[in-house]
């Protein structure tokens, strides 16, 4: 059947179907198709075939395809995994670093501070674990006492901070604020307040380097 048609017409048909035919040949092809019923039949069957093939419904990969494919891949290096984790969770990393560094700092300072200590100022007297401002004397300056008490018989010009101790009511005068910190929690909070400024600037810098 096909042999009955001139090869040239078949070639022109192919060119036409490939979208690569010159306008003059296109006209020639059209004339041939009109004059030859066999050529016409082949042409119609070819276009029908193409339509059938193109109409083949588009199949989709199974829904778990991506997951299965990824599970089959060789494992990635740990270094990359860590990098990506940091990129996706900068806050988490920042928080982890915060907790780590803070706890280290506080553990050491907390245990350092188990001992009785106080700010040395002139005229202060120590009786056992009690810091005393003697009667008739004036102490100028802020006073911090750790693990000890304070008794003021004279005059104190400055703020007082007492950690794990107490201010014993007495006849003296304190020209400043008194803060008593008794518990571990409060002590922690006090430390955090003190180092918060440092921490913020530390995270600012750290975040940037993680984001890169």
């Amino acid at each position: 059947m096909m042999n009955a048609c001139p090869e040239k017409v078949i070639r022109m048909m192919d060119d036409y179907l490939d979208g690569e035919i010159s306008p003059s040949e296109e006209k020639e092809l059209k004339d041939s198709l009109q004059s030859c019923s066999d050529c016409r039949k082949i042409y119609q069957e070819l276009t029908k075939t193409i339509a059938f093939v193109q109409s083949a419904s588009h199949v989709q990969a199974p829904s778990d395809f991506v997951q299965k494919t990824m599970a089959g891949l060789p494992k990635e290096s740990q270094r990359v995994g860590m990098k990506r984790f940091m990129r996706h969770h900068p806050l988490m990393i920042a928080a982890a670093l915060f907790v780590l560094l803070m706890s280290a700092a506080m553990m050491s300072s907390f245990s350092d501070d188990q001992q009785f200590s106080f700010t040395k100022q002139e005229n202060l007297v120590v009786e056992g674990q009690t810091v005393v401002v003697p009667a008739g004397q004036t102490v100028v300056g802020d006073l911090t006492i750790r693990n000890g008490d304070l008794r003021v018989d004279g005059e104190l010009e400055g703020d007082v901070t007492i950690v794990n101790g107490q201010y014993m009511a007495s006849s003296g005068v304190i020209n400043g604020e008194i803060e008593e910190i008794d518990q571990v929690f409060e002590w922690l909070w006090y430390t955090i307040k003190g180092t918060f400024q440092d921490a913020v600037s530390f995270f600012g810098g750290n975040d940037q380097s993680i984001d890169e």
Partner: protein, 187 residues
């Protein structure tokens, strides 16, 4: 699209598997489709498409980023499909007798495998029939026809995927088209 893909590929080259998951997501259906049309069976298509992605991942460093990623990926897939099709064919002589049968040689076995009786063809749905006829094409025509008419790729890209001169691609499409025309003439 290409810039997007290339960005992901750079990350994959650094070993980032999540970036590759996005690439699989992007190309899974097209790749699966090619494999399915080439092999005519979902199970095998899934198998080969997965294998193609795995090879792309492992060999990502050999991919030239100035080129189109899909072309490279489809090339891996069509090669795997053609390998699979050839492996399924018996590599012994066709006229050797099939073991355990008397007088039954490979010709009759292939005839049984590949050509269904007329009445069964008539019972098939059009879609099913078209797939069946595509799967009867010789593998080299099959790849060209699938890329041209199902993936609707330009001839130049098909020639790159199949690593063949443009003229050869055209010839294969013409022959594949002609073979299909004959096979489907009773539809």
């Amino acid at each position: 699209m290409d810039a997007l893909v290339n960005k992901r590929i750079k990350r994959v080259m650094k070993g980032d598997q999540d970036a590759f998951a996005e690439i699989v997501e992007l190309y899974q259906h097209q790749l699966f489709q090619i494999c399915y049309r080439m092999l005519g069976n979902r199970h095998e298509a899934e198998d080969i498409a997965q294998e193609a992605f795995t090879r792309a991942y492992v060999n990502i460093h050999t991919f030239d980023q100035k080129r189109k990623f899909s072309t490279w990926l489809y090339r891996i897939a069509t090669n795997l499909c053609i390998d699979r099709i050839r492996k399924k064919k018996p590599d012994y002589h066709l006229d050797a007798e099939v073991k355990g049968t008397e007088g039954l040689n490979m010709y009759s076995k292939i005839a049984n495998d590949e050509e269904l009786p007329e009445e069964e063809l008539m019972r098939m749905e059009v879609q099913e029939r078209v797939q069946y006829e595509i799967s009867r094409l010789p593998d080299k025509y099959r790849a060209a026809i699938v890329l041209k008419y199902i993936e609707e790729l330009p001839l130049a890209e098909i020639s790159e995927i199949l690593d063949l001169p443009l003229g050869t691609v055209k010839t294969r499409i013409h022959r594949g088209r002609e073979a299909l025309r004959k096979q489907l003439s009773n539809l």
